[in-house]
């Protein structure tokens, strides 16, 4: 039963990590020895298992989370039901990876423009302390986000933790006020099932675009 120590998809990563640590006895691992599965290294993307797996993962709308958008409107997570969304967790005072995530989402928005309506672009805040509606509006302005399609949503610290846990986003508050976090972009269908998860910011959003199109079917 202790075989269950390193669970699920990450087991190879950790197994490999520990193996490297033991074998090298102090030497630093190199990227070439990266224990990530080859496909994950190559694409940075995780196509979630089709139908069966997707159903098995459940709907994020089973979370009862209270949200506030950039206009100060209060809503529940389940109010987002019914529309395919491209989503990420960011924070507005972040000046690097969050911008890259947002830029890639904007690039996908351009690729889908005129072809696919009714896709929403959603940024969930990782920073309940600072991401007020005003801060989120300012971010939307600076980033030139069309708020007819984009929404920025903040939640309580505990609700942020829960949403991050559901999506698999890892994050940590740093002492300098930054929030170290996973850069991930999700395609979530109208029923709240995560259909695609991109890890990192890739130059090619083709897989995300394809996932959005599939999620609309």
């Amino acid at each position: 039963m202790t075989g269950n120590m390193f669970p699920g998809s990450a087991r190879w990563f950790v197994g490999g990590l520990l193996t490297v640590a033991i074998a090298s006895g102090g030497a630093c691992g190199r990227q070439a020895e990266s224990p990530l599965p080859a496909d994950a290294r190559a694409t940075g993307a995780h196509e979630l298992p089709a139908a069966a797996g997707a159903i098995d993962q459940g709907s994020i709308f089973d979370l009862d989370l209270a949200l506030v958008d950039q206009e100060g409107r209060q809503l529940r997570l389940a109010d987002l039901r019914g529309t395919v969304m491209l989503a990420a967790m960011v924070y507005t005072s972040c000046d690097s990876v969050c911008i890259m995530v947002t830029e890639q989402m904007k690039a996908i928005e351009r690729q889908l423009a005129g072809v696919d309506g009714h896709v929403r672009y959603t940024l969930f805040s990782l920073d309940p302390g600072r991401d007020t509606p005003e801060a989120m509006r300012a971010f939307a302005r600076t980033q030139q986000l069309d708020t007819a399609r984009w929404r920025l949503l903040a939640a309580s610290e505990d609700d942020v933790r829960t949403l991050a846990a559901v999506l698999g986003v890892r994050y940590q508050l740093e002492e300098n006020g930054e929030i170290a976090h996973s850069a991930m972009i999700f395609v979530i269908d109208g029923e709240g099932v995560v259909r695609h998860r991109q890890v990192g910011v890739g130059p090619d959003g083709g897989a995300l675009v394809a996932a959005v199109r599939r999620a609309r079917d």
Binding site: M5, F6, L18, C28, G29, A165, G168
Partner: protein, 283 residues
């Protein structure tokens, strides 16, 4: 009897837990909630913040400055047992094995129980409940006005031996942990109280099961974002970054690696939990 296993041998080889120490020992004088121990404020040296340094003196100074302060809090004396969790699912049908939403648990949820409301031979009432997800653990604790300990709270307690509040550099203590980690867990798991004690009186922190922490997902080892890379380096290149002497704290390294492999809906046969309350936060 078949026990559900879904992990390959590579992990099995790594995965030990467990060990038994001779019977319970009395803790120190304790106060706090019934069944809980008041853990006094203090500090500990997080593994991932241990810096490299040119020499021993510099390393000691850097280590001291990297210590994280932890406010006093109440912690359950023992991990939550099968019997306690059974009482919970009696009251909360939505957390029974057949009812729990798939967003919150995976297929292994309570897999060692005989049924929704029946423990069976693999789940003795007094043994720690395992095969529970982060969501299920939190639901149980919140129904009792508690929550999971943070990584800081848990590691702070885990640094204590039976005699010292900070045994994180005690070679004998660490050696015992390493030996424990290399051993297989008995099936069924022994009763709570059979693992190691701490100077605080909190029991079974080591020696019975791994335990969920509130912010298990703060371990960033996947290296995706700007902030991750530094943390990634200290974990992935853990032994090199920590230096030869810090490599002794391999048990802490294993715990961080384990946490980094978790997702919140995982339900694992060696992973249980306990609650805390009245904490003043960390940092």
């Amino acid at each position: 009897m078949h026990y559900p296993v879904r992990l390959p041998a590579i992990a099995a080889a790594m995965a030990g837990l467990l060990f038994l120490l001779p019977g319970p020992r009395p803790g120190l004088a304790r106060e706090g909630e019934p069944g809980m121990i008041r853990v006094p404020a203090g500090s500990y040296a997080p593994l991932y913040r241990q810096p490299t340094a040119a020499d021993d003196a510099a390393a000691d100074a850097a280590r001291e400055s990297a210590r994280r302060r932890v406010a006093a809090f109440d912690m359950d004396e023992y991990p939550v047992t099968n019997a306690q969790f059974l009482a919970f699912v009696h009251q909360h049908p939505e957390w029974r094995r057949s009812q729990a939403k798939r967003l919150f648990v995976d297929d292994n949820y309570l897999a060692h129980w005989k049924g929704d409301l029946e423990l069976g031979p693999l789940a003795p009432p007094g043994s720690p409940v395992v095969n529970v997800s982060w969501f299920a653990a939190r639901a149980y604790l919140r129904a009792r006005g508690k929550d999971l300990p943070t990584v800081d709270q848990w590691e702070y307690v885990a640094a204590a031996s039976e005699t010292d509040r900070d045994a994180s550099r005690d070679a004998t203590f660490l050696g015992r942990l390493r030996a424990w980690y290399a051993r297989s867990a008995p099936v069924p798991l022994p009763a709570v109280g059979s693992g190691a004690g701490t100077v605080y009186g909190v029991r079974d922190v080591h020696g019975l099961v791994w335990e969920w922490t509130l912010d298990f997902n703060s371990a960033l080892v996947t290296g995706e974002s700007r902030g991750d890379s530094a943390l990634d380096r200290t974990l992935y290149c853990g032994s090199g970054a920590m230096g030869a002497s810090d490599f002794e704290n391999y048990p802490a390294f294993m715990r961080y690696a384990f946490r980094s492999s978790l997702e919140a809906r995982y339900s694992i046969g060696s992973l249980g939990f306990r609650g805390v309350k009245n904490g003043g936060g960390t940092r």
